[in-house]
Each structure stands twice: as C-alpha cells, then as structure tokens.
C-alpha cells in the first residue's frame, strides 16, 4: 500500500538529502562527532522512509534485499581485512598502517588545534566507511524484515 501523495513526494525529496548527510557523517567520522555506525544508521533511515512511503512491490522494483546483505558482508570483510593487513606488515592486529604515510588518508597532522584535515588518520576513516556500509546493510535488512510483518508482506 502506498501512502498519500504528499508523503511520497516528501520521501522523494528527502531521500537524497538523507543519503548525503549520512555519508557526510561517515567520512567525517575521524574529525567530528559521529562515525561509521551513526552515519550508517542515518542512511538506513532513508531506506526506511522509502519503505514507509511506498508499497513493498514498488520497493522490490528499486532494490533487492540481497544487495543489502551483500553490503553487510562487504563492510565486515573490509573492516577485518584492513585490520589483518597490519599483521602482514609485521605489526599487531588493528595497527594503523596507513597513518602518516603521505598517501590515502596519510597526511601527517600538525600538533595543536586545527580546523580538521580530511585526508588524515590512516585506517580510521577506512574502518568508519567499512562500518558505515555494514550498518546501512544490516539495519536496512533488520528493519525490512520487521516492517514486512507489519505491512503484511510475505513471510
């Protein structure tokens, strides 16, 4: 069942904004309050908004549930592989092997107060992104399963 036209139009308008805001929280996780989990949860609310506004059939045309399951697995794997690479480099599990190397997220941070540089902090942003992808997948799957019962979809 679809909700009224006002709700559907608002969902269309809000959905991209929610996605952008969620991804902002994810990639700025090492600089500002927030991070992978919080951003992923925000993104998942965007999908839930679509789910509330539109019927189950419409949603199935747009997304497959498998895609969210894949996102969940991909995020978890990215997370653990990032941590495992450190073992290959001779350091310990979760060692921050990308920090201060000059490459991706590798700019050294000058000591003292600063306005926040995005390309810093090594593996921490990578882990945030991994967690964000995992949480958006897992939360969407959980909420879809729960809402499906309420909205009378198939078992």
């Amino acid at each position: 069942m679809n909700m009224s036209k006002i709700v559907r139009a608002a969902a269309h308008l809000l959905f991209p904004a929610i996605l952008v805001y969620g991804f902002y929280i994810v990639v700025h996780g090492h600089l500002t309050p927030g991070g992978g989990f919080q951003g992923g949860a925000v993104i998942a609310t965007g999908f839930v908004l679509l789910y509330v506004a539109f019927s189950y059939q419409r949603l199935q045309e747009w997304f497959r549930l498998d895609a969210f399951k894949n996102a969940e697995a991909l995020g978890l794997l990215l997370f653990i592989v990032t941590a495992l690479v450190a073992l290959g480099l001779g350091a310990t599990f979760f060692y921050n092997w990308m920090a201060n190397t000059g490459g991706l997220f590798g700019t050294p941070v000058p000591f003292g107060p600063n306005p926040g540089y995005l390309n810093t902090a090594g593996t921490i942003p990578i882990m945030n992104i991994a967690v964000g992808v995992e949480v958006l997948g897992a939360m969407s799957v959980i909420l879809f399963y729960m809402l499906r019962g309420i909205k009378g979809g198939d078992e």
């Binding site: 600089l31 500002t32 309050p33 989990f37 949860a41 003292g112 107060p113 600063n114 306005p115 926040g116 959980i142 399963y145 729960m146 019962g149």
Partner: protein, 114 residues
Amino acid sequence: MYLNLPFIGAGLLMLIGIAIILMRKNLVKMIMGLSIVEAGVNLFLVASGYVDGGIPPIFTAAGDTVMVYPTVQAMTLTNIVIGIATTALLLSFVIIVYRRYGTADVDGMRRLRG
C-alpha cells in the same frame, strides 16, 4: 551539588526500568524497561567522565584545553550499538512469538515448564 544530579537521574532511570521489567506482563513493555535500564547505565557512564567546565574531547580551534573524559563516551557509544543489536534481536523474537502464540503476554508464554 548540581554535578550529582546526573547520577541521581541515572539511578532513577535504572530503578524505573527494573520496576517496569518486574511489574509489566507485556513483552514489548518489558523490553522497553530493559532499554530504560540501559539508558540509565549510559547516563551513569557519561556523567562519570564529566569534568566541570570541560569541552568535548576533540582538537579544534577552541582555546580551552580542559576536556571531558573520552573513554567513557566511547564505552557509551559501544553500549548503544550493542543495545540496538539486543533490542532488534529481542523484538524480532517477540514478533515470532506473537505470530505463533497469538499473544505477547508473559502469562501466555508458559510453554516451558519444570
């Protein structure tokens, strides 16, 4: 004195949550009670790391460097994440139980005995 208020609030939240768990028969309400206990513990943790006049523990251009304790905040965040997983699991159990038994009341749950 006012610095003790969060602890009193945390204690009250925990007591209210436990009272709900003990006195309500509806499973969803009991899970709400569990979430309130969790909120109380979280409030206790965050409050125990507060430093009078401290700023958030982020290196920004702010001049003052008296910061609140960051570890308890990390602990609270972790507990919130765990709490969401727990609540989701418990609620999905309740959905299944409700479908099979036709009730979400504790008195209707007594199929396991002895």
